[in-house]
C-alpha cells in the first residue's frame, strides 16, 4: 500500500502525458460541425418581403448544384465586413449563394440587403429562436456551409469569409465537388 503511494505520482503523470500527446494532434480553435457529410436539415423557410413569392429556402432547393449557404442577420456586425466578398463572388459567378436570415425581423433583413447589396439567389427567414440554423450546428453569424449536388453538407466555415479564404480554401472545395 505504501509502495503504491510512491508510484502514484508517476502514474498520474503518465496518464497526463498521454492526454498531452493526443492534445498535440487536436486543434482547440477548430469547432467541428456535427453535420459534415450529413444531408442538410429538413427545412422550408419563408422568403423575405419584396424578394418574390418563391425565393424562400427549402431542402429541395439545395439539390442539383454545389452551393454556398450563408448564415447572416441584420444585427450581425461581422456580416457587414464579409458582405463585399459575397458581392464579388456573385459578380464573378463562382457559385450560387443562398442565405438563412437568422434570428431576424424579415423587414430588417430585407432592408439590410437593399442597403448592402443582395448577392443571394434564395433567402429563407429563420425567425427567433432560429431553430433551423441550430439544426445546421451554427454557433454564431456569419457562418457558411458548402452543400454538394446531393444536398449533403461538405464543409463549414466559421466567421467572415475573406477573398483569400474564398480563393484558397472554399472555391477549390467547390470546384472539386462539382467534378463529382
Amino acid at each position: 500500500m505504501r509502495r503504491f503511494l510512491y508510484v502514484l505520482p508517476v502514474a498520474v503523470f503518465a496518464i497526463m502525458a498521454l492526454f498531452f500527446l493526443k492534445g498535440l494532434t487536436l486543434n482547440p480553435r477548430d469547432i467541428p460541425s456535427v453535420l459534415i457529410d450529413r444531408p442538410v436539415p429538413e427545412m422550408s423557410l419563408a422568403p423575405l418581403p419584396g424578394r418574390g413569392e418563391s425565393s424562400g429556402l427549402g431542402t429541395e432547393n439545395l439539390k442539383g448544384r454545389v452551393s454556398l449557404v450563408n448564415i447572416y442577420g441584420s444585427w450581425c456586425i461581422s456580416c457587414v465586413q464579409e458582405h463585399p466578398v459575397l458581392m464579388e463572388i456573385k459578380r464573378r459567378g463562382d457559385a450560387p449563394i443562398h442565405a438563412v436570415d437568422w434570428r431576424d425581423d424579415p423587414v430588417l433583413g430585407a432592408a439590410w440587403l437593399k442597403k448592402n447589396g443582395d448577392p443571394y439567389e434564395r433567402v429563407g427567414i429563420d425567425p427567433p429562436p432560429g431553430r433551423t440554423a441550430v439544426d445546421f450546428g451554427v454557433t454564431g453569424a456569419p457562418e457558411s456551409f458548402i452543400v454538394d449536388k446531393a444536398g449533403v453538407i461538405r464543409y463549414k466555415h466559421v466567421g467572415p469569409i475573406s477573398m483569400e479564404i474564398w480563393t484558397k480554401t472554399l472555391l477549390p472545395i467547390i470546384r472539386e465537388l462539382e467534378k463529382r
Binding site: 505504501r2 509502495r3 510512491y6 508510484v7 505520482p9 508517476v10 503523470f13 503518465a14 497526463m16 502525458a17 492526454f19 498531452f20 500527446l21 493526443k22 492534445g23 498535440l24 494532434t25 487536436l26 486543434n27 482547440p28 480553435r29 469547432i31 467541428p32
Partner: protein, 662 residues
C-alpha cells in the same frame, strides 16, 4: 557577425552542459573527487557562454539589426529603447533564451555560494541542472534558433505587439522566469538527494532560501502580470483563470507548499519524502506551464508562438524531466528514513494541513486547466472551463487554510495546545464574527452575495490574528517597556512570516470587495454630460488626437467631481499603433483607499452625429489597491525572511558540519 558569435556560444554551452551532466555524476558515484570538481568550472563556463549569446541577441535588438529574423519580426526602429530591450524576451525564441540564461545563472550561483555544500550533493545537483540545460539548449538550437538570418534584410521590422509595450509587462517575464527557473534549484537538489538516498537538515537549509527567492520572484511576476491586465485590458478585471495565468499560479501554489514543508524538514527532520515530491512537482508545474504556453494544446489569450513540432519536443522534455524524476522518486523515496513523529495538533500538523490544501488547490487548478483538453481527447465535445468552476472549487479550499493560518504560528512544535491558542484568539474570533455581521448589515443582507461576510471575516481573523501574534511575541501588552528591544531581537524570518501572512489578509479584503461590489456603467456620453459612478461625477470634457512615439492616441479628458466640487481630471487613451497597426486601450485610474475609479474611452458613437458622443466605460472597483498592497507585503515579507542570517544563501558552516557528520 555578432549574431553568429551568439549562435556559436550556444553550441559551446550545449557541449559544456553535456560534460557537466555526465562527468560529475559519475564522479559522485565512484567517489572520484577530480571528476566531481568538474561541475563547478563547467557551470561557470556554461553561464559565460549563455550570457554571451544573450548579450548578442540583446545587441541585435538594441542596434535594430533586421538581418536577424527574430529582430525583424518583433522590433522596429520607432520603438522606445525600453521596449527594444524588452523585445528580446517578448517572443518565443528570445523568451527561451532568457529562460536558459536564468537557469545558467542559478547554476553559476551554486558554484559561487555553495562552497560549504557536501561535494557529492553539489556535484549531483549541478549535473541535474546541466541535464535541464541540455534539454532546453537542444530545443533552442534545433527548433527555435533566435539568431537565424534574413537575406536580404528588411528595411524595418514588424514591431512588437503593442499590448506588450508596457513597463508592467516589460518586467513581467523576467520575474516570472526567475520564479519558474528558481524552482529548478529545489528540483535539482531533490533529485541529487534521491540519488544520494539521504535528506537532512543541511539539505533543507540549502533548499529553503532558494525556494523562497524563487517564490518571491514568482509572486512579483504574477502580481505584475495581474496589474498589467488590470490597467491595459480595459475591463477592470485582474485575474481571468486563463490557462496561462493558471500555468503560473500552479507552481506558485506548489512552491508555497514547498516553502512551508521545507521548514518542517529543517526544524523537525520530518515530511522528507513529501518535501522531495513537492520540489519535483513545483518545477514540473513550471515546465508544464512552458509546455502549455508554447505548444498550443490549449487556447489562451496569451497564445504566442504555437507550433506542433515544438510541442512534441517540449512534451518529450517534460516527460523526461518530470516522468523520469517521478519514476526515480517511486524507486528511491520508500527507502528514505522516516523522520520525527508529531501529533496532528502541532505546528507540523498545521503546516501539513496547509500543504494538503495547497496541493489540492494546485490539483484543482490543474484539472480545470486541462479539462478542455481531456474532454476533447475523449471526444466529449469542446468545453471551456471558466471562472465559475475555479471560484466555486478553489476558493472554498482556501477558506479552511486561512482559518488555520492565524492559529498555526502560535502552535508549538511536536504537540500543540489548540485550546490554549484558541483562548488567546477568542477576542479576534469575536471581532471577525462582528465584522461578518456588520458587512452583512451594510450590504443590506442578501442584497449582496453571501460570501462577502465570510471573506471579510476571514480577512479580519487572519490580519488581526497575525498582528496579535506579533504583539504577543514582542510582549507589547505584557511588558510594553521592553517591546522595542524584543522586536529588534525577533528573527527576520518571524517578521517575514508575519508580514506575508498579514499581506494575505489585506489581499483577501481586496479580493472580496472587488469581486462583490464593482459597479460598471457603459453608455454613450456626450461632451459635457456627467455620469455618476461610485459617488463621483464623471464629466466628458472632450477628445483630442495626441501623437505618441510610435502610435497616435485619442485622448479623452474627463473632469471628476465629488459632492459637486471638481477634484481632478482623468485622461484615458485609445491608441492606434503604427507598426503593427493595432489598437490598444489605456485606462485612466484614480486610486484611493476605498477603491479605484477606472475610466475607459471607446469609439465615437456614429448615431450621435459629428462631435457628438463617445462610448465610455466607467467603473468603480472597490479596494483594488488592497490587492496590490497585499501582494507587495507578500513580496516584502519574503525578502525580509530571505535576509535572515540563518537563511543566508550559501548554507552556513553549521550545515557543513552536520553534513560532514552524516
Amino acid at each position: 557577425m555578432i549574431a553568429e558569435i551568439g549562435h556559436f556560444a550556444l553550441v559551446l554551452a550545449l557541449c559544456v552542459a553535456l560534460v557537466q551532466a555526465v562527468v560529475p555524476l559519475m564522479g559522485a558515484r565512484r567517489g572520484n573527487m577530480a571528476w566531481m570538481n568538474v561541475a563547478g568550472p563547467a557551470a561557470t563556463l556554461q553561464f559565460l557562454f549563455i550570457a554571451i549569446a544573450f548579450g548578442a541577441l540583446t545587441n541585435a535588438y538594441v542596434t535594430s539589426d533586421f538581418s536577424v529574423m527574430n529582430v525583424a519580426q518583433n522590433s522596429h526602429t520607432d520603438k522606445p529603447m525600453l521596449y527594444k530591450v524588452a523585445g528580446v524576451w517578448g517572443n518565443h525564441e528570445g523568451s527561451l533564451l532568457l529562460w536558459i540564461t536564468i537557469l545558467a545563472l542559478f547554476g553559476f550561483a551554486v558554484t559561487l555560494f555553495g562552497r560549504n555544500l557536501p561535494p557529492g550533493l553539489k556535484s549531483r545537483a549541478l549535473a541535474v541542472q546541466a541535464m535541464i540545460a541540455v534539454g532546453f539548449l537542444a530545443f533552442i538550437l534545433l527548433t527555435s534558433n533566435p539568431f537565424a538570418r534574413l537575406d536580404p534584410p528588411p528595411v524595418n521590422g514588424q514591431g512588437l505587439n503593442p499590448m506588450l509595450q508596457d513597463p508592467g509587462l516589460a518586467f513581467h517575464p523576467p520575474f516570472l522566469y526567475l520564479g519558474y527557473v528558481g524552482f529548478s534549484m529545489a528540483f535539482s537538489f531533490a533529485i541529487a538527494a534521491l540519488l544520494e538516498g539521504r535528506v537532512d537538515a543541511a539539505w533543507a537549509r540549502w533548499v529553503r532560501p532558494w525556494t523562497l527567492a524563487a517564490w518571491v520572484f514568482l509572486t512579483c511576476g504574477i502580481i505584475l502580470g495581474s496589474w498589467w491586465a488590470y490597467y491595459t485590458l480595459g475591463w477592470g478585471g485582474w485575474w481571468y483563470w486563463d490557462p496561462v495565468e493558471n500555468a503560473s499560479f500552479m507552481p506558485w501554489l506548489a512552491g508555497t507548499a514547498l516553502l512551508h514543508s521545507a521548514i518542517v524538514v529543517e526544524k523537525r527532520d520530518a515530511l522528507k519524502s513529501w518535501t522531495i515530491l513537492l520540489a519535483i512537482i513545483a518545477f514540473g508545474l513550471s515546465l508544464l506551464g512552458t509546455f502549455l504556453v508554447r505548444s498550443g494544446v490549449l487556447t489562451s489569450v496569451h497564445a504566442f508562438a504555437t507550433d506542433p513540432a515544438r510541442g512534441v519536443f517540449i512534451l518529450l522534455l517534460l516527460c523526461t524531466a518530470v516522468g523520469g524524476s517521478l519514476a526515480l522518486y517511486a524507486a528511491r523515496a520508500p527507502m528514505m528514513k522516516m523522520g520525527g513523529l508529531f501529533s496532528p495538533i502541532s505546528r507540523e500538523g498545521a503546516l501539513l494541513l496547509n500543504n494538503v490544501l495547497m496541493a489540492t488547490g494546485a490539483a484543482t487548478v490543474l484539472l480545470g486547466t486541462l479539462y478542455p483538453l481531456i474532454a476533447d481527447a475523449l471526444n466529449l465535445g469542446k468545453v471551456s472551463v471558466g471562472p465559475p468552476f475555479f471560484n466555486a472549487v478553489f476558493l472554498p479550499l482556501m477558506a479552511p487554510m486561512v482559518l488555520v493560518m492565524a492559529a498555526a504560528p502560535m502552535l508549538s512544535w511536536k504537540r500543540g495546545d489548540m485550546a490554549g491558542v484558541l483562548g488567546r484568539l477568542k477576542f479576534i474570533a469575536a471581532l471577525a464574527l462582528g465584522t461578518a455581521m456588520l458587512v452583512w448589515f451594510l450590504q443590506g443582507g442578501s442584497a449582496g452575495p453571501w460570501w462577502t461576510a465570510a471573506g471579510f471575516a476571514l480577512a479580519v481573523w487572519l490580519g488581526l490574528g497575525t498582528l496579535w501574534d506579533m504583539a504577543e511575541r514582542i510582549g507589547l501588552f505584557t511588558r510594553p517597556a521592553n517591546a522595542l528591544s524584543r522586536a529588534a531581537r525577533l528573527p527576520n524570518s518571524a517578521w517575514g512570516m508575519l508580514l506575508a501572512h498579514f499581506g494575505l489578509a489585506v489581499f483577501i479584503v481586496g479580493l472580496t470587495a472587488s469581486s462583490a461590489w464593482t459597479t460598471e456603467h457603459i453608455q454613450t456620453q456626450k461632451v459635457g454630460e456627467t455620469v455618476q459612478v461610485g459617488g463621483y461625477g464623471v464629466t466628458l470634457k472632450g477628445v483630442e488626437d495626441v501623437p505618441g512615439p510610435n502610435y497616435t492616441a485619442s485622448r479623452a479628458t474627463f473632469e471628476i467631481s465629488k459632492d459637486g466640487k471638481a477634484i481632478g481630471v482623468m485622461q484615458p487613451e485609445k491608441r492606434m499603433y503604427r507598426q503593427p497597426p493595432r489598437p490598444t486601450t489605456t485606462a485612466a485610474i484614480r486610486s484611493g483607499i476605498t477603491g479605484d475609479l477606472y475610466v475607459v474611452i471607446g469609439d465615437p458613437d456614429p448615431k450621435a452625429g459629428p462631435g457628438g458622443g463617445w462610448v465610455t466605460r466607467l467603473y468603480f472597483n472597490p479596494c483594488i489597491p488592497w490587492l496590490w498592497a497585499g501582494g507587495l507585503l507578500l513580496v516584502v515579507g519574503g525578502l525580509i525572511s530571505l535576509a535572515d542570517r540563518r537563511h543566508r544563501i550559501g548554507a552556513p558552516a553549521r550545515a557543513a558540519n552536520a553534513a560532514a557528520k552524516a
